[in-house]
């Protein structure tokens, strides 16, 4: 299944939830914020959203800045 994660086309397992996707990417769900098709998904709801073909996902966190 083809999705776009952080602007990059990616192939991922079909039918995974956002929570499973984070685990596939070895990311700690407590350390990232997930935006799914321009909508923020709260941490508690990550296991309830299934990723669909063509979805756009943004995974962000805090970096150094002024």
């Amino acid at each position: 299944m083809d999705v776009v994660i952080n602007g990059e086309p990616k192939q991922i397992t079909a039918g995974v939830t956002l929570l499973e996707l984070l685990s596939e990417l070895e990311l700690d769900p407590r350390a990232v914020v997930v935006e799914h098709n321009r909508k923020i998904v709260r941490r508690i709801g990550l296991g309830e959203v299934t990723v669909q073909d063509g979805d756009a996902i943004e995974l962000v966190h805090f970096v150094g800045g002024g």
Binding site: I5, L27, R43, V60, H61, F62, V63, G64, G66
Partner: protein, 265 residues
């Protein structure tokens, strides 16, 4: 008359209902390495540290997060919307930052020009209104224009942050009169953000009576960031204390400090 000790006893800096002892706020960007950043922030005595929202690097995620190095329990994280050129983008970044779960404060930046990084005040006001309505405590990065500062206060911003000079320029406080005017006319805290280059700039800025100062590059780009952070802490305190002490009036003629009487014939 107050003693020196009493003069030093200052009120805390209160922003959006949160009280902070340090009037120096610092950024976390542009350090040569993360260990230096942590030591410099400790040396600065700052409680509020700014961070930016960016995409996770999918190859090296753990190393790139600033929270891997900085304990969020020890500092108050102030997320910024740096790099946003529209109100819509800034609102999007602010919402993502809040979702990280630390607080509902945001340092709102809507940049209008790439070369000067000066704010787009129309976009800034638009974004501020939306975010205030959503419950954010908005600290708005703006220029030194009084009317914009008043509009931001009217919009419900928790603090207004006029620049000393352009971001990363190190030119110091270019317009002390405007900064004093903004401070005199606003009720919310005024925190000068951006443009400080060295300790004397921080001191002069605090002497204007503003509530606080935020800097990043002046510390991070110093030859010795830890030593400069310490200098900035002293300068911020010195400037604040001098402001509270009340400076002598300026005179354009000399007045002797020693008695005119009692001179020998």
């Amino acid at each position: 008359m107050t003693t020196a000790i009493e003069t030093l006893r200052d009120e805390p800096l209160t922003i959006g209902g949160r009280a902070f002892q340090s009037r120096l706020l610092v950024g976390t960007g542009k350090y040569p390495d993360m260990e230096t950043m942590v030591r410099a922030i400790e040396a600065s005595g700052a409680e509020v540290v700014t961070v930016a929202v960016r995409r996770v690097n999918l190859d090296r995620s753990k190393e790139s997060s600033v929270l891997h190095f900085l304990d969020p329990k020890s500092f108050f994280l102030l997320a910024n919307t740096a790099g946003c050129y529209t109100a819509e983008d800034a609102i999007r970044y602010a919402r993502l930052a809040r979702e990280a779960g630390f607080n509902d404060f945001v340092k709102l930046e809507v940049i209008g020009d790439e070369e000067t990084l000066l704010p787009d005040v129309a976009g800034l006001l638009e974004a501020a209104k939306v975010l205030v309505k959503e419950g954010f405590k908005v600290l708005a990065y703006t220029n030194e224009d009084l009317v914009t500062a008043l509009r931001l206060e009217d919009a419900g911003c928790a603090a207004v942050m006029p620049l000393a000079s352009p971001i990363g320029s190190g030119l110091g406080l270019l317009n002390p009169l405007s900064i004093r005017t903004i401070k005199r006319r606003l009720h919310v805290p005024v925190i000068v953000d951006a443009g400080v280059g060295t300790a004397s700039d921080a001191c002069v800025t605090m002497e204007q009576g503003v509530d606080g100062i935020l800097m990043n590059t002046a510390i991070a780009a110093a030859q010795d960031p830890v030593a400069m952070a310490h200098a900035m802490r002293l300068a911020t305190n010195a400037g604040r204390t001098a402001y509270l002490a009340g400076r002598m009036p300026r005179r354009e003629i000399a007045v002797p400090s020693s008695p005119a009487k009692g001179m020998l014939d």
